[in-house]
Subunit: 289 residues, 2 copies
DNA sequence: CAAAAGCGATAGATTCTGCTCATAACGACA
DNA sequence: TGTCGTTATGAGCAGAATCTATCGCTTTTG
Protein backbone atom coordinates (compact mmCIF):
# COMPACT_ATOMS: atom_id res chain seq x y z
CA UNK A 1 0.00 0.00 0.00
CA UNK A 2 1.41 3.34 -0.94
CA UNK A 3 0.39 6.90 -0.42
CA UNK A 4 -3.31 7.31 0.14
CA UNK A 5 -4.75 10.77 0.06
CA UNK A 6 -8.38 10.92 1.07
CA UNK A 7 -9.39 14.41 0.22
CA UNK A 8 -13.04 13.71 0.86
CA UNK A 9 -14.24 15.52 3.92
CA UNK A 10 -17.09 13.82 5.73
CA UNK A 11 -18.47 17.16 6.87
CA UNK A 12 -18.80 18.26 3.29
CA UNK A 13 -20.76 15.14 2.53
CA UNK A 14 -23.01 15.73 5.53
CA UNK A 15 -23.62 19.23 4.26
CA UNK A 16 -24.36 17.89 0.81
CA UNK A 17 -26.89 15.55 2.33
CA UNK A 18 -28.51 18.28 4.36
CA UNK A 19 -28.76 20.64 1.42
CA UNK A 20 -30.20 17.93 -0.77
CA UNK A 21 -32.78 17.20 1.90
CA UNK A 22 -33.67 20.80 2.75
CA UNK A 23 -33.54 22.29 -0.70
CA UNK A 24 -31.76 25.49 0.22
CA UNK A 25 -28.38 26.33 1.63
CA UNK A 26 -29.93 28.48 4.32
CA UNK A 27 -32.18 25.82 5.78
CA UNK A 28 -29.40 23.27 5.60
CA UNK A 29 -27.18 25.70 7.48
CA UNK A 30 -29.84 26.09 10.12
CA UNK A 31 -30.10 22.36 10.54
CA UNK A 32 -26.38 21.92 10.78
CA UNK A 33 -25.80 24.87 13.04
CA UNK A 34 -23.85 26.78 10.44
CA UNK A 35 -24.24 30.02 8.59
CA UNK A 36 -25.53 30.07 5.04
CA UNK A 37 -22.16 31.39 4.07
CA UNK A 38 -20.42 28.41 5.58
CA UNK A 39 -22.65 26.01 3.72
CA UNK A 40 -22.05 27.85 0.50
CA UNK A 41 -18.34 27.58 0.97
CA UNK A 42 -18.47 23.97 2.02
CA UNK A 43 -20.41 23.09 -1.08
CA UNK A 44 -17.94 25.06 -3.15
CA UNK A 45 -15.09 23.14 -1.54
CA UNK A 46 -16.79 19.83 -2.20
CA UNK A 47 -17.37 20.80 -5.77
CA UNK A 48 -13.73 21.59 -6.09
CA UNK A 49 -12.66 18.20 -4.80
CA UNK A 50 -15.02 16.28 -7.05
CA UNK A 51 -14.27 18.57 -9.95
CA UNK A 52 -17.76 19.64 -10.88
CA UNK A 53 -20.96 21.17 -9.65
CA UNK A 54 -23.13 19.07 -7.39
CA UNK A 55 -26.03 21.49 -7.32
CA UNK A 56 -27.81 23.59 -9.90
CA UNK A 57 -28.70 26.94 -8.42
CA UNK A 58 -31.72 28.20 -10.28
CA UNK A 59 -31.49 31.58 -8.58
CA UNK A 60 -34.35 33.33 -6.93
CA UNK A 61 -36.51 31.66 -4.35
CA UNK A 62 -36.38 28.28 -6.03
CA UNK A 63 -34.62 25.40 -4.34
CA UNK A 64 -31.34 24.05 -5.58
CA UNK A 65 -31.26 20.72 -7.35
CA UNK A 66 -28.73 17.95 -7.46
CA UNK A 67 -26.80 17.59 -10.67
CA UNK A 68 -26.18 14.08 -11.99
CA UNK A 69 -22.71 14.30 -10.52
CA UNK A 70 -24.25 15.43 -7.28
CA UNK A 71 -26.42 12.36 -7.20
CA UNK A 72 -23.43 10.13 -7.65
CA UNK A 73 -21.57 11.87 -4.88
CA UNK A 74 -24.57 11.91 -2.57
CA UNK A 75 -25.30 8.24 -3.05
CA UNK A 76 -21.77 7.32 -2.10
CA UNK A 77 -21.66 10.00 0.55
CA UNK A 78 -24.62 8.59 2.37
CA UNK A 79 -22.88 5.25 2.46
CA UNK A 80 -19.82 6.90 3.91
CA UNK A 81 -21.79 8.79 6.51
CA UNK A 82 -23.65 5.68 7.56
CA UNK A 83 -20.39 3.84 7.82
CA UNK A 84 -18.90 6.64 9.89
CA UNK A 85 -21.87 6.60 12.21
CA UNK A 86 -21.52 2.85 12.52
CA UNK A 87 -17.89 3.35 13.45
CA UNK A 88 -18.69 5.76 16.20
CA UNK A 89 -21.38 3.43 17.36
CA UNK A 90 -18.97 0.54 17.46
CA UNK A 91 -16.51 2.60 19.47
CA UNK A 92 -19.21 3.52 21.94
CA UNK A 93 -20.32 -0.05 22.30
CA UNK A 94 -16.76 -1.17 22.70
CA UNK A 95 -16.17 1.29 25.47
CA UNK A 96 -19.44 0.25 27.06
CA UNK A 97 -18.11 -3.26 27.34
CA UNK A 98 -19.19 -4.95 24.23
CA UNK A 99 -16.61 -7.06 22.57
CA UNK A 100 -14.65 -10.21 22.92
CA UNK A 101 -12.39 -11.29 25.70
CA UNK A 102 -10.16 -14.35 25.51
CA UNK A 103 -9.22 -15.98 28.77
CA UNK A 104 -6.82 -18.79 29.31
CA UNK A 105 -7.71 -20.96 32.27
CA UNK A 106 -7.53 -24.46 33.68
CA UNK A 107 -9.86 -26.93 35.28
CA UNK A 108 -10.02 -25.80 38.87
CA UNK A 109 -10.45 -22.19 37.99
CA UNK A 110 -12.99 -22.97 35.31
CA UNK A 111 -15.12 -24.95 37.71
CA UNK A 112 -14.82 -23.00 40.91
CA UNK A 113 -13.80 -19.41 40.30
CA UNK A 114 -15.00 -18.56 36.85
CA UNK A 115 -18.70 -19.35 36.98
CA UNK A 116 -19.54 -16.58 39.43
CA UNK A 117 -17.19 -14.08 37.82
CA UNK A 118 -18.38 -14.72 34.29
CA UNK A 119 -21.97 -14.62 35.40
CA UNK A 120 -21.50 -11.20 36.94
CA UNK A 121 -19.56 -9.93 33.96
CA UNK A 122 -22.29 -11.04 31.60
CA UNK A 123 -24.89 -9.47 33.85
CA UNK A 124 -23.11 -6.14 33.50
CA UNK A 125 -22.32 -6.53 29.81
CA UNK A 126 -24.88 -8.83 28.24
CA UNK A 127 -23.34 -8.51 24.80
CA UNK A 128 -19.87 -9.44 25.87
CA UNK A 129 -18.28 -12.39 24.11
CA UNK A 130 -16.30 -14.30 26.72
CA UNK A 131 -14.16 -17.11 25.42
CA UNK A 132 -12.30 -19.57 27.57
CA UNK A 133 -9.46 -21.72 26.34
CA UNK A 134 -8.21 -24.50 28.52
CA UNK A 135 -5.35 -25.66 26.41
CA UNK A 136 -2.37 -25.71 28.69
CA UNK A 137 0.69 -26.06 26.57
CA UNK A 138 4.07 -26.64 28.15
CA UNK A 139 4.87 -23.04 27.40
CA UNK A 140 1.99 -21.17 28.95
CA UNK A 141 1.76 -18.43 26.39
CA UNK A 142 -0.27 -15.35 26.82
CA UNK A 143 -0.22 -14.76 23.09
CA UNK A 144 -3.68 -14.32 21.69
CA UNK A 145 -5.17 -14.03 25.14
CA UNK A 146 -6.40 -11.06 27.07
CA UNK A 147 -6.12 -12.73 30.43
CA UNK A 148 -4.50 -15.91 31.69
CA UNK A 149 -5.05 -17.85 34.88
CA UNK A 150 -1.97 -19.76 35.94
CA UNK A 151 -0.87 -21.67 38.99
CA UNK A 152 2.31 -19.89 39.74
CA UNK A 153 4.13 -16.79 38.68
CA UNK A 154 4.80 -16.15 35.03
CA UNK A 155 7.96 -14.75 33.59
CA UNK A 156 8.09 -12.23 30.83
CA UNK A 157 6.23 -9.03 30.12
CA UNK A 158 3.17 -9.71 32.19
CA UNK A 159 1.40 -8.13 35.03
CA UNK A 160 -0.19 -10.50 37.48
CA UNK A 161 -2.07 -10.60 40.72
CA UNK A 162 -2.38 -13.53 43.09
CA UNK A 163 -5.99 -14.60 43.21
CA UNK A 164 -5.78 -16.97 46.11
CA UNK A 165 -3.74 -19.62 47.87
CA UNK A 166 -4.95 -23.08 47.15
CA UNK A 167 -3.83 -25.51 49.92
CA UNK A 168 -2.93 -29.06 49.05
CA UNK A 169 -4.88 -31.84 50.68
CA UNK A 170 -4.48 -35.54 50.76
CA UNK A 171 -7.38 -37.41 49.23
CA UNK A 172 -7.96 -40.98 50.23
CA UNK A 173 -10.79 -43.46 50.54
CA UNK A 174 -12.88 -42.94 53.64
CA UNK A 175 -11.41 -44.83 56.61
CA UNK A 176 -7.89 -45.13 55.19
CA UNK A 177 -6.54 -42.39 57.47
CA UNK A 178 -8.75 -42.08 60.50
CA UNK A 179 -8.19 -39.14 62.82
CA UNK A 180 -6.67 -35.70 62.15
CA UNK A 181 -3.95 -34.46 59.83
CA UNK A 182 -1.89 -37.03 58.04
CA UNK A 183 1.88 -36.84 58.49
CA UNK A 184 3.66 -35.99 55.29
CA UNK A 185 5.96 -38.95 55.71
CA UNK A 186 3.00 -41.23 55.13
CA UNK A 187 3.41 -40.44 51.47
CA UNK A 188 6.81 -42.09 51.34
CA UNK A 189 6.61 -45.15 49.21
CA UNK A 190 2.83 -44.75 49.08
CA UNK A 191 0.98 -45.62 45.93
CA UNK A 192 -0.26 -42.38 44.48
CA UNK A 193 -2.30 -40.98 41.63
CA UNK A 194 -1.28 -37.57 40.41
CA UNK A 195 -1.40 -34.99 37.68
CA UNK A 196 1.29 -34.88 35.02
CA UNK A 197 4.46 -33.26 36.33
CA UNK A 198 3.90 -29.89 34.80
CA UNK A 199 2.83 -26.61 36.30
CA UNK A 200 2.48 -26.73 40.00
CA UNK A 201 2.64 -30.54 40.19
CA UNK A 202 6.29 -30.27 39.27
CA UNK A 203 6.88 -27.96 42.22
CA UNK A 204 5.06 -30.35 44.54
CA UNK A 205 7.21 -33.26 43.48
CA UNK A 206 10.32 -31.17 44.03
CA UNK A 207 9.05 -30.55 47.57
CA UNK A 208 8.63 -34.28 48.11
CA UNK A 209 12.15 -34.85 47.00
CA UNK A 210 13.53 -32.15 49.28
CA UNK A 211 11.70 -33.76 52.20
CA UNK A 212 13.19 -37.12 51.29
CA UNK A 213 9.83 -38.52 50.34
CA UNK A 214 9.60 -40.75 47.31
CA UNK A 215 6.03 -41.69 46.47
CA UNK A 216 5.20 -44.38 43.97
CA UNK A 217 3.09 -42.60 41.42
CA UNK A 218 1.20 -45.30 39.59
CA UNK A 219 -1.07 -43.24 37.42
CA UNK A 220 -1.13 -39.76 36.01
CA UNK A 221 -3.88 -37.83 34.32
CA UNK A 222 -4.49 -34.18 33.90
CA UNK A 223 -8.19 -34.66 34.54
CA UNK A 224 -9.00 -33.96 38.17
CA UNK A 225 -12.06 -36.14 38.11
CA UNK A 226 -9.96 -38.88 36.60
CA UNK A 227 -7.54 -38.63 39.51
CA UNK A 228 -10.39 -38.86 42.00
CA UNK A 229 -11.89 -41.82 40.19
CA UNK A 230 -8.60 -43.66 40.42
CA UNK A 231 -8.30 -42.96 44.10
CA UNK A 232 -11.83 -44.18 44.52
CA UNK A 233 -10.92 -47.33 42.64
CA UNK A 234 -8.16 -47.97 45.15
CA UNK A 235 -5.16 -47.31 42.91
CA UNK A 236 -3.71 -45.07 45.54
CA UNK A 237 -4.05 -41.76 47.27
CA UNK A 238 -3.66 -38.30 45.79
CA UNK A 239 -2.49 -34.90 46.84
CA UNK A 240 -4.61 -32.29 45.15
CA UNK A 241 -5.20 -28.62 45.66
CA UNK A 242 -8.46 -27.90 47.33
CA UNK A 243 -10.00 -26.24 44.31
CA UNK A 244 -9.67 -29.51 42.44
CA UNK A 245 -11.86 -31.23 45.05
CA UNK A 246 -14.93 -29.47 43.79
CA UNK A 247 -16.58 -32.69 42.74
CA UNK A 248 -15.13 -34.97 45.35
CA UNK A 249 -17.26 -38.10 45.85
CA UNK A 250 -18.63 -38.82 49.30
CA UNK A 251 -16.59 -41.96 49.79
CA UNK A 252 -13.37 -40.02 49.58
CA UNK A 253 -12.01 -37.87 52.37
CA UNK A 254 -9.67 -34.88 52.13
CA UNK A 255 -7.10 -34.72 54.92
CA UNK A 256 -4.78 -31.95 55.92
CA UNK A 257 -1.11 -32.76 55.72
CA UNK A 258 1.34 -32.22 58.51
CA UNK A 259 3.39 -30.32 57.83
CA UNK A 260 1.23 -28.67 55.20
CA UNK A 261 2.68 -28.24 51.77
CA UNK A 262 3.13 -24.65 50.65
CA UNK A 263 -0.10 -23.96 48.85
CA UNK A 264 -0.50 -23.67 45.15
CA UNK A 265 -0.75 -20.01 44.19
CA UNK A 266 -3.23 -19.01 41.56
CA UNK A 267 -2.42 -15.93 39.55
CA UNK A 268 -4.29 -13.93 37.00
CA UNK A 269 -1.93 -12.50 34.43
CA UNK A 270 -2.17 -10.19 31.44
CA UNK A 271 0.30 -8.66 29.01
CA UNK A 272 2.23 -5.82 30.55
CA UNK A 273 2.52 -2.39 29.00
CA UNK A 274 -0.55 -2.89 26.94
CA UNK A 275 -3.87 -1.18 27.13
CA UNK A 276 -6.48 -3.66 28.19
CA UNK A 277 -9.92 -3.85 26.73
CA UNK A 278 -12.54 -2.42 29.05
CA UNK A 279 -13.94 -5.91 29.45
CA UNK A 280 -10.60 -7.24 30.60
CA UNK A 281 -10.19 -4.43 33.08
CA UNK A 282 -13.58 -5.11 34.52
CA UNK A 283 -12.90 -8.83 34.62
CA UNK A 284 -9.79 -8.28 36.70
CA UNK A 285 -11.75 -6.13 39.11
CA UNK A 286 -14.39 -8.80 39.47
CA UNK A 287 -11.86 -11.54 40.07
CA UNK A 288 -10.12 -9.55 42.78
CA UNK A 289 -13.38 -8.83 44.56
CA UNK B 1 -32.92 12.75 9.68
CA UNK B 2 -31.69 15.27 12.14
CA UNK B 3 -28.37 16.75 13.01
CA UNK B 4 -25.47 14.57 12.03
CA UNK B 5 -22.08 15.38 13.37
CA UNK B 6 -19.32 13.37 11.80
CA UNK B 7 -16.29 14.16 13.83
CA UNK B 8 -14.32 11.35 12.24
CA UNK B 9 -11.63 12.64 9.97
CA UNK B 10 -10.69 10.33 7.15
CA UNK B 11 -7.12 11.56 7.17
CA UNK B 12 -6.77 10.52 10.76
CA UNK B 13 -7.95 7.06 9.85
CA UNK B 14 -5.51 6.90 6.99
CA UNK B 15 -2.76 7.86 9.39
CA UNK B 16 -3.94 5.23 11.82
CA UNK B 17 -3.72 2.69 9.07
CA UNK B 18 -0.26 3.78 8.03
CA UNK B 19 1.07 3.72 11.57
CA UNK B 20 -0.43 0.31 12.20
CA UNK B 21 1.22 -0.94 9.05
CA UNK B 22 4.61 0.68 9.56
CA UNK B 23 4.95 0.24 13.28
CA UNK B 24 6.35 3.66 14.04
CA UNK B 25 5.05 7.18 13.72
CA UNK B 26 8.13 8.27 11.86
CA UNK B 27 7.94 5.71 9.08
CA UNK B 28 4.23 6.31 8.75
CA UNK B 29 4.94 10.01 8.42
CA UNK B 30 7.47 9.30 5.72
CA UNK B 31 4.98 7.22 3.81
CA UNK B 32 2.29 9.84 4.11
CA UNK B 33 4.53 12.77 3.33
CA UNK B 34 4.17 14.27 6.76
CA UNK B 35 6.43 15.01 9.65
CA UNK B 36 6.64 12.69 12.61
CA UNK B 37 5.23 15.52 14.64
CA UNK B 38 2.21 15.77 12.40
CA UNK B 39 1.52 12.06 12.72
CA UNK B 40 1.85 12.29 16.47
CA UNK B 41 -0.65 15.11 16.56
CA UNK B 42 -3.04 13.37 14.22
CA UNK B 43 -3.00 10.24 16.32
CA UNK B 44 -3.55 12.34 19.41
CA UNK B 45 -6.50 14.03 17.72
CA UNK B 46 -7.97 10.70 16.70
CA UNK B 47 -7.56 9.38 20.21
CA UNK B 48 -9.40 12.41 21.47
CA UNK B 49 -12.33 11.86 19.16
CA UNK B 50 -12.67 8.17 20.00
CA UNK B 51 -12.02 8.85 23.65
CA UNK B 52 -9.17 6.46 24.27
CA UNK B 53 -5.71 5.40 23.18
CA UNK B 54 -5.44 3.55 19.91
CA UNK B 55 -1.76 2.72 20.27
CA UNK B 56 0.41 1.51 23.10
CA UNK B 57 3.75 3.26 22.97
CA UNK B 58 6.25 0.95 24.58
CA UNK B 59 8.95 3.58 24.46
CA UNK B 60 12.43 3.01 23.21
CA UNK B 61 13.09 1.55 19.81
CA UNK B 62 10.16 -0.84 19.94
CA UNK B 63 7.25 -0.35 17.60
CA UNK B 64 3.90 0.87 18.76
CA UNK B 65 1.03 -1.60 19.03
CA UNK B 66 -2.66 -1.25 18.48
CA UNK B 67 -4.81 -1.29 21.58
CA UNK B 68 -8.07 -3.26 21.47
CA UNK B 69 -9.86 0.03 20.89
CA UNK B 70 -7.41 0.80 18.12
CA UNK B 71 -8.25 -2.47 16.44
CA UNK B 72 -11.91 -1.64 16.51
CA UNK B 73 -11.29 1.79 15.05
CA UNK B 74 -8.88 0.50 12.45
CA UNK B 75 -11.23 -2.23 11.28
CA UNK B 76 -14.00 0.24 10.73
CA UNK B 77 -11.59 2.84 9.43
CA UNK B 78 -10.37 0.59 6.68
CA UNK B 79 -13.95 0.11 5.58
CA UNK B 80 -14.41 3.84 5.53
CA UNK B 81 -11.25 4.45 3.57
CA UNK B 82 -12.14 1.80 1.03
CA UNK B 83 -15.56 3.34 0.68
CA UNK B 84 -14.04 6.78 0.24
CA UNK B 85 -11.72 5.48 -2.44
CA UNK B 86 -14.69 3.85 -4.13
CA UNK B 87 -16.47 7.17 -4.06
CA UNK B 88 -13.64 8.99 -5.74
CA UNK B 89 -13.43 6.20 -8.23
CA UNK B 90 -17.11 6.47 -9.00
CA UNK B 91 -16.78 10.21 -9.50
CA UNK B 92 -13.90 9.69 -11.88
CA UNK B 93 -15.77 7.09 -13.83
CA UNK B 94 -18.83 9.26 -13.96
CA UNK B 95 -16.87 12.14 -15.36
CA UNK B 96 -15.22 9.80 -17.82
CA UNK B 97 -18.61 8.99 -19.24
CA UNK B 98 -19.77 6.03 -17.33
CA UNK B 99 -23.31 6.12 -16.21
CA UNK B 100 -26.86 6.02 -17.42
CA UNK B 101 -28.59 8.26 -19.89
CA UNK B 102 -32.35 8.18 -20.50
CA UNK B 103 -33.52 9.32 -23.89
CA UNK B 104 -37.08 9.82 -25.04
CA UNK B 105 -37.53 9.21 -28.73
CA UNK B 106 -39.95 8.02 -31.37
CA UNK B 107 -39.99 5.66 -34.26
CA UNK B 108 -38.37 7.63 -37.03
CA UNK B 109 -35.58 8.88 -34.85
CA UNK B 110 -35.03 5.49 -33.31
CA UNK B 111 -34.66 3.84 -36.68
CA UNK B 112 -32.80 6.43 -38.67
CA UNK B 113 -30.92 8.86 -36.46
CA UNK B 114 -30.17 7.02 -33.28
CA UNK B 115 -28.34 3.92 -34.46
CA UNK B 116 -25.31 5.80 -35.70
CA UNK B 117 -25.25 8.19 -32.79
CA UNK B 118 -25.63 5.53 -30.12
CA UNK B 119 -23.03 3.40 -31.81
CA UNK B 120 -20.53 6.21 -31.71
CA UNK B 121 -21.39 7.10 -28.13
CA UNK B 122 -20.89 3.53 -27.02
CA UNK B 123 -17.65 3.38 -28.93
CA UNK B 124 -16.39 6.31 -26.92
CA UNK B 125 -17.87 5.17 -23.62
CA UNK B 126 -18.21 1.41 -23.63
CA UNK B 127 -19.61 1.30 -20.11
CA UNK B 128 -22.36 3.80 -20.79
CA UNK B 129 -25.90 2.66 -20.10
CA UNK B 130 -28.10 4.17 -22.80
CA UNK B 131 -31.82 3.71 -22.35
CA UNK B 132 -34.44 4.63 -24.89
CA UNK B 133 -38.09 5.06 -24.08
CA UNK B 134 -40.54 5.41 -26.91
CA UNK B 135 -43.65 6.05 -24.91
CA UNK B 136 -45.18 9.13 -26.38
CA UNK B 137 -47.80 10.33 -23.96
CA UNK B 138 -50.11 13.15 -24.97
CA UNK B 139 -48.09 15.35 -22.69
CA UNK B 140 -44.57 14.88 -23.92
CA UNK B 141 -42.89 15.14 -20.55
CA UNK B 142 -39.20 15.45 -20.10
CA UNK B 143 -39.50 14.28 -16.53
CA UNK B 144 -37.20 11.40 -15.79
CA UNK B 145 -35.39 11.87 -19.06
CA UNK B 146 -32.03 13.33 -19.81
CA UNK B 147 -32.82 14.03 -23.45
CA UNK B 148 -35.99 14.03 -25.52
CA UNK B 149 -36.46 13.88 -29.26
CA UNK B 150 -39.65 15.58 -30.36
CA UNK B 151 -41.19 16.62 -33.64
CA UNK B 152 -41.79 20.25 -32.94
CA UNK B 153 -40.84 22.81 -30.36
CA UNK B 154 -41.51 22.11 -26.73
CA UNK B 155 -42.80 24.61 -24.23
CA UNK B 156 -41.52 24.94 -20.73
CA UNK B 157 -38.10 25.00 -19.20
CA UNK B 158 -36.26 23.22 -21.93
CA UNK B 159 -33.39 23.94 -24.17
CA UNK B 160 -33.64 22.48 -27.62
CA UNK B 161 -31.87 22.38 -30.94
CA UNK B 162 -33.40 21.56 -34.31
CA UNK B 163 -31.83 18.36 -35.54
CA UNK B 164 -33.19 18.47 -39.05
CA UNK B 165 -36.13 19.26 -41.29
CA UNK B 166 -38.04 16.22 -42.31
CA UNK B 167 -40.02 16.88 -45.52
CA UNK B 168 -43.39 15.28 -46.04
CA UNK B 169 -43.90 13.02 -49.04
CA UNK B 170 -46.88 11.37 -50.54
CA UNK B 171 -46.67 7.60 -50.50
CA UNK B 172 -48.75 5.69 -52.99
CA UNK B 173 -48.65 2.38 -54.85
CA UNK B 174 -46.33 2.45 -57.81
CA UNK B 175 -48.11 3.75 -60.89
CA UNK B 176 -50.87 5.58 -59.09
CA UNK B 177 -49.27 8.98 -59.69
CA UNK B 178 -47.03 8.77 -62.74
CA UNK B 179 -44.80 11.70 -63.49
CA UNK B 180 -43.36 14.39 -61.19
CA UNK B 181 -44.68 16.12 -58.09
CA UNK B 182 -48.24 15.50 -57.11
CA UNK B 183 -50.43 18.54 -56.65
CA UNK B 184 -51.60 19.01 -53.10
CA UNK B 185 -55.20 19.28 -54.23
CA UNK B 186 -55.05 15.64 -55.27
CA UNK B 187 -55.47 14.84 -51.57
CA UNK B 188 -58.90 16.41 -51.46
CA UNK B 189 -61.48 13.72 -50.88
CA UNK B 190 -58.73 11.12 -51.34
CA UNK B 191 -58.77 7.95 -49.27
CA UNK B 192 -55.85 8.20 -46.89
CA UNK B 193 -54.03 6.27 -44.22
CA UNK B 194 -52.43 8.38 -41.49
CA UNK B 195 -50.98 8.52 -38.03
CA UNK B 196 -53.14 9.47 -35.09
CA UNK B 197 -53.73 13.24 -34.95
CA UNK B 198 -51.17 13.96 -32.31
CA UNK B 199 -47.80 15.57 -32.50
CA UNK B 200 -46.96 16.78 -35.97
CA UNK B 201 -49.79 14.91 -37.64
CA UNK B 202 -52.18 17.38 -35.98
CA UNK B 203 -50.29 20.25 -37.56
CA UNK B 204 -50.41 18.60 -40.96
CA UNK B 205 -54.13 18.17 -40.77
CA UNK B 206 -54.53 21.81 -39.80
CA UNK B 207 -52.56 22.68 -42.93
CA UNK B 208 -54.93 20.59 -45.04
CA UNK B 209 -57.88 22.43 -43.56
CA UNK B 210 -56.33 25.83 -44.20
CA UNK B 211 -55.77 24.82 -47.80
CA UNK B 212 -59.39 23.72 -48.13
CA UNK B 213 -58.40 20.12 -48.50
CA UNK B 214 -60.53 17.51 -46.76
CA UNK B 215 -59.05 14.02 -47.11
CA UNK B 216 -60.97 10.92 -46.16
CA UNK B 217 -58.77 9.27 -43.58
CA UNK B 218 -59.89 5.69 -43.46
CA UNK B 219 -57.30 4.24 -41.13
CA UNK B 220 -54.97 5.49 -38.46
CA UNK B 221 -52.12 3.80 -36.75
CA UNK B 222 -49.10 5.14 -34.98
CA UNK B 223 -46.95 2.42 -36.48
CA UNK B 224 -45.20 3.71 -39.57
CA UNK B 225 -44.83 0.26 -41.04
CA UNK B 226 -48.51 -0.28 -40.43
CA UNK B 227 -49.32 2.81 -42.41
CA UNK B 228 -47.17 1.62 -45.28
CA UNK B 229 -48.72 -1.81 -45.18
CA UNK B 230 -52.16 -0.29 -45.48
CA UNK B 231 -51.10 1.82 -48.43
CA UNK B 232 -49.66 -1.25 -50.03
CA UNK B 233 -52.92 -3.06 -49.43
CA UNK B 234 -54.72 -0.36 -51.39
CA UNK B 235 -56.61 1.29 -48.52
CA UNK B 236 -55.41 4.68 -49.66
CA UNK B 237 -52.40 6.92 -49.91
CA UNK B 238 -50.40 8.44 -47.07
CA UNK B 239 -48.43 11.56 -46.38
CA UNK B 240 -45.47 10.72 -44.23
CA UNK B 241 -42.27 12.44 -43.27
CA UNK B 242 -39.32 11.13 -45.14
CA UNK B 243 -37.68 9.65 -42.08
CA UNK B 244 -40.67 7.38 -41.69
CA UNK B 245 -40.00 5.91 -45.12
CA UNK B 246 -36.96 4.11 -43.93
CA UNK B 247 -38.43 0.72 -44.63
CA UNK B 248 -40.57 1.63 -47.62
CA UNK B 249 -41.40 -1.40 -49.78
CA UNK B 250 -40.39 -1.36 -53.44
CA UNK B 251 -43.94 -1.40 -54.74
CA UNK B 252 -44.63 1.94 -53.10
CA UNK B 253 -43.39 5.25 -54.44
CA UNK B 254 -42.75 8.46 -52.53
CA UNK B 255 -43.75 11.59 -54.43
CA UNK B 256 -43.03 15.23 -53.74
CA UNK B 257 -46.04 17.39 -53.13
CA UNK B 258 -46.71 20.66 -54.95
CA UNK B 259 -46.75 22.92 -53.11
CA UNK B 260 -44.64 21.11 -50.55
CA UNK B 261 -45.89 20.98 -47.02
CA UNK B 262 -43.75 22.77 -44.46
CA UNK B 263 -41.50 20.02 -43.21
CA UNK B 264 -41.74 18.38 -39.88
CA UNK B 265 -39.06 19.74 -37.58
CA UNK B 266 -37.21 17.37 -35.31
CA UNK B 267 -35.83 18.79 -32.12
CA UNK B 268 -33.65 17.42 -29.43
CA UNK B 269 -34.60 18.89 -26.07
CA UNK B 270 -33.29 18.72 -22.52
CA UNK B 271 -34.18 20.36 -19.24
CA UNK B 272 -33.05 23.97 -19.11
CA UNK B 273 -30.99 25.39 -16.31
CA UNK B 274 -29.76 22.02 -15.27
CA UNK B 275 -26.33 20.57 -15.44
CA UNK B 276 -26.27 17.71 -17.87
CA UNK B 277 -24.48 14.49 -17.30
CA UNK B 278 -21.29 14.27 -19.34
CA UNK B 279 -22.88 11.53 -21.40
CA UNK B 280 -25.81 13.74 -22.28
CA UNK B 281 -23.53 16.58 -23.29
CA UNK B 282 -21.55 14.30 -25.53
CA UNK B 283 -24.73 12.84 -26.97
CA UNK B 284 -25.94 16.29 -27.97
CA UNK B 285 -22.64 16.99 -29.65
CA UNK B 286 -22.82 13.75 -31.57
CA UNK B 287 -26.37 14.40 -32.72
CA UNK B 288 -25.51 17.85 -33.96
CA UNK B 289 -22.55 16.61 -35.89
C1' DC C 1 -43.09 48.45 -14.07
C1' DA C 2 -41.07 49.08 -9.72
C1' DA C 3 -40.47 47.27 -5.17
C1' DA C 4 -39.96 43.44 -2.14
C1' DA C 5 -38.61 38.94 -0.96
C1' DG C 6 -35.81 34.86 -1.22
C1' DC C 7 -31.69 32.99 -2.36
C1' DG C 8 -26.62 32.04 -3.25
C1' DA C 9 -21.99 34.25 -3.81
C1' DT C 10 -18.37 37.03 -2.08
C1' DA C 11 -15.28 40.07 0.68
C1' DG C 12 -13.07 41.06 4.94
C1' DA C 13 -12.05 40.07 9.62
C1' DT C 14 -11.32 36.66 12.99
C1' DT C 15 -10.61 32.46 15.04
C1' DC C 16 -8.96 27.66 14.59
C1' DT C 17 -6.53 24.02 12.59
C1' DG C 18 -2.74 21.73 11.07
C1' DC C 19 1.65 21.74 9.71
C1' DT C 20 6.91 22.23 10.36
C1' DC C 21 10.91 22.88 13.00
C1' DA C 22 13.32 22.33 17.05
C1' DT C 23 13.79 20.20 21.25
C1' DA C 24 12.49 17.73 25.32
C1' DA C 25 11.38 13.33 27.50
C1' DC C 26 11.69 8.57 27.77
C1' DG C 27 12.95 3.66 27.52
C1' DA C 28 16.34 0.20 25.78
C1' DC C 29 20.79 -1.11 25.26
C1' DA C 30 25.72 -1.13 25.32
C1' DT D 1 25.96 6.52 31.88
C1' DG D 2 25.78 7.89 27.53
C1' DT D 3 23.71 7.04 22.93
C1' DC D 4 20.15 5.59 19.94
C1' DG D 5 15.50 5.34 18.47
C1' DT D 6 11.39 6.56 19.73
C1' DT D 7 7.20 9.74 20.88
C1' DA D 8 5.64 14.19 22.97
C1' DT D 9 5.56 19.06 23.16
C1' DG D 10 6.13 24.07 22.41
C1' DA D 11 6.62 27.99 19.19
C1' DG D 12 5.63 29.94 15.03
C1' DC D 13 3.32 30.34 10.88
C1' DA D 14 0.37 29.57 6.85
C1' DG D 15 -3.89 28.45 5.46
C1' DA D 16 -8.60 26.85 6.31
C1' DA D 17 -13.05 27.54 8.20
C1' DT D 18 -16.27 30.42 10.05
C1' DC D 19 -19.01 34.64 10.79
C1' DT D 20 -20.88 39.20 9.56
C1' DA D 21 -22.26 42.07 6.15
C1' DT D 22 -23.28 42.95 1.67
C1' DC D 23 -23.96 42.22 -3.22
C1' DG D 24 -26.38 40.49 -7.26
C1' DC D 25 -29.66 37.73 -9.25
C1' DT D 26 -34.45 35.92 -10.00
C1' DT D 27 -39.12 35.53 -8.92
C1' DT D 28 -43.06 37.35 -6.86
C1' DT D 29 -45.98 41.06 -5.53
C1' DG D 30 -48.21 45.42 -5.54
Amino acid sequence: MLIIKPVMDLRHLATLDAVAAEGTFGRAAERLGYTQSAVSQQVAALEKTVGGAVFDRPGGPRPVRLTPLGEVVLAHGRELLARAAATEDAVERFKAGEGRIDIGTFQSVTNVILPAVVRRLLAEHPRADVRLSEEEPDQPGIEGLDLLFYDGRLDGDVEQVKIRDDPYRLVAPRGRFPGGPVPLEALHDAQMVAQPPICDQARVERLYAEAGIVPRIVFRTSDNRGVLSMVRAGLGVAVLPELALDQCPDDLVAHDLDPALPPREIYLAWPANRTLAPLATRFIELVRA
